[in-house]
Structures are given as structure tokens and as C-alpha cells.
């Protein structure tokens, strides 16, 4: 058994696709109409056969409540790993991304947290290099 797909709940699939591809740099893997929404998954260009990220509609009230409660306390819903956190932080700031936490060392890793514009906080994580 392997982990194939994980997901984030997004308030708007088209907006999410634009942000996650144009701003973050992921690429669409599958986009299949399923009723009102799409089965819409992304992969990292660095690992096109790797774990897929499903941009899942948050129309269920429980999904909205979950997102609201986590955001209120600054808690991210998923972690993306990067090699150079400071460079990624500057790149995303230049693209207008809003960070609730600038890069900070947290034990063996450095982390930062940003708003994905779709109702979620995302944590970036990199090993401490110093």
C-alpha cells in the first residue's frame, strides 16, 4: 500500500487551480468532470509520478467548519517541503502571497505558513541547513 492522493478543501476549484499552478508552481495531473465539480489533482514538476494533491470542493458544511476553526488559530492543513525556505518565502512574497508566519527555526526544520487564498493555511518546511 502506498499513499497516492491527499487533498485540501478549496472554496473554488478554478481559483485554486490558478493559485496552486501559477503562483505555487504545481502542475495539473488529472482534471476529470465529476458531476458539478472536477476530479482535479496536481503534482510537483519535481515528482510528476509522486503523490497527487486533490483540490477538493469544500461545499460540505463540515469542511467549511474545519477550515474556519483551523485558520482561526493559525493551523496549517498540509505541509509542502522545499529545499530553500528563505528563497521560496521571498519568491511567494513577491507574488503577493500572505504569510501568517515568516520563516522560523522549529527544532530540526525551518517552517513558514501562508494563506492559499482558498481558505487554508499551508506550511512550508525545509531542513535546517546551518
Amino acid at each position: 500500500m502506498r499513499i497516492g492522493v491527499t487533498s485540501v478543501f478549496v472554496d473554488d476549484q478554478a481559483k485554486a487551480e490558478a493559485f496552486y499552478t501559477d503562483v505555487l508552481g504545481f502542475q495539473v495531473k488529472d482534471k476529470v468532470p465529476v458531476g458539478e465539480y472536477d476530479w482535479l489533482t496536481l503534482v510537483s514538476p519535481a515528482d510528476v509520478d509522486g503523490i497527487q494533491l486533490l483540490l477538493e470542493p469544500d461545499q460540505h458544511p463540515a469542511a467549511k467548519a474545519y477550515k474556519t476553526a483551523l485558520s482561526a488559530e493559525g493551523i496549517p492543513v498540509i505541509v509542502f517541503t522545499v529545499d530553500d525556505l528563505d528563497a521560496e518565502y521571498r519568491r511567494l512574497l513577491d507574488r503577493g502571497v500572505f504569510f501568517t508566519q515568516a520563516p522560523a527555526p522549529m527544532g530540526p526544520v525551518s517552517t513558514a505558513v501562508f494563506d492559499d487564498t482558498c481558505g487554508n493555511l499551508i506550511q512550508l518546511m525545509a531542513p535546517v541547513t546551518e
Binding site: Q101, M106, D115
Partner: protein, 107 residues
């Protein structure tokens, strides 16, 4: 917050004494971290307490500690969109040196 005594009533509001607020090592660690970087979410503060101070208290406990600091005027919160940021305010500490003036150093 009744569990944290030594409050006094000021303009109808119960105010925690700054000495009570500072008497707890977790609350001092929270102020240390806000002094290191002002304006943090609860998530960041909890992560810093765990990774830098080996304090793994629950979020609820940390929220209570922040409430005590806020009552004492040492922490303020700011809402920005869906997010809440905590800011340190060391102004109330001035009352300590007013009450017990710090001698000037000989130069």
C-alpha cells in the same frame, strides 16, 4: 480566568497583576518568543514553545496563559482577516521601575 488570582478591579474590568502574569515560566517563555518576533498566531507560539522551550502544554492551556498576559496588558491581539495575531506590549513593566526606581549607573 478565576483560577489566576490577585486581580483587581479597574474601571469595572478585572485586571491581572503584572507580577502574577510574570510569575509563570510558560508565560515568560511566551513573552520571550513575542520579543523575538512580534505578531504571532497561536500555532506559531505553540510550535515555538515545543521546539525551543520543551513546553508541550495544550493549545487550551496556552490560550489561557495568553489571556492572563492580555489581562495584564502585556499582550494585545489583532485580527487580520480570518487570522489572529498576538503582540507583546512591555509598557506595563514601566510601573515596576516607577515603584522601585533603578539606580543610575555611575559613569
Amino acid at each position: 480566568m478565576l483560577a489566576y488570582g490577585s486581580g483587581r478591579v479597574n474601571g469595572g474590568r478585572r485586571v491581572t497583576d503584572i507580577f502574577t502574569a510574570l510569575a509563570d515560566s510558560t508565560r515568560r517563555a511566551l513573552l520571550d518568543e513575542l520579543a523575538d518576533r512580534d505578531g504571532q498566531t497561536l500555532f506559531e507560539l505553540c510550535a515555538r514553545l515545543v521546539s525551543k522551550h520543551d513546553i508541550s502544554s495544550s493549545r487550551q492551556a496556552i490560550t489561557q496563559h495568553l489571556g492572563v498576559l492580555e489581562e495584564a496588558g502585556l499582550v494585545h491581539t489583532r485580527r487580520q482577516g480570518r487570522y489572529k495575531f498576538h503582540h507583546a506590549d512591555f509598557t506595563p513593566l514601566r510601573a515596576v521601575s516607577v515603584r522601585w526606581p533603578i539606580p543610575q549607573e555611575d559613569t
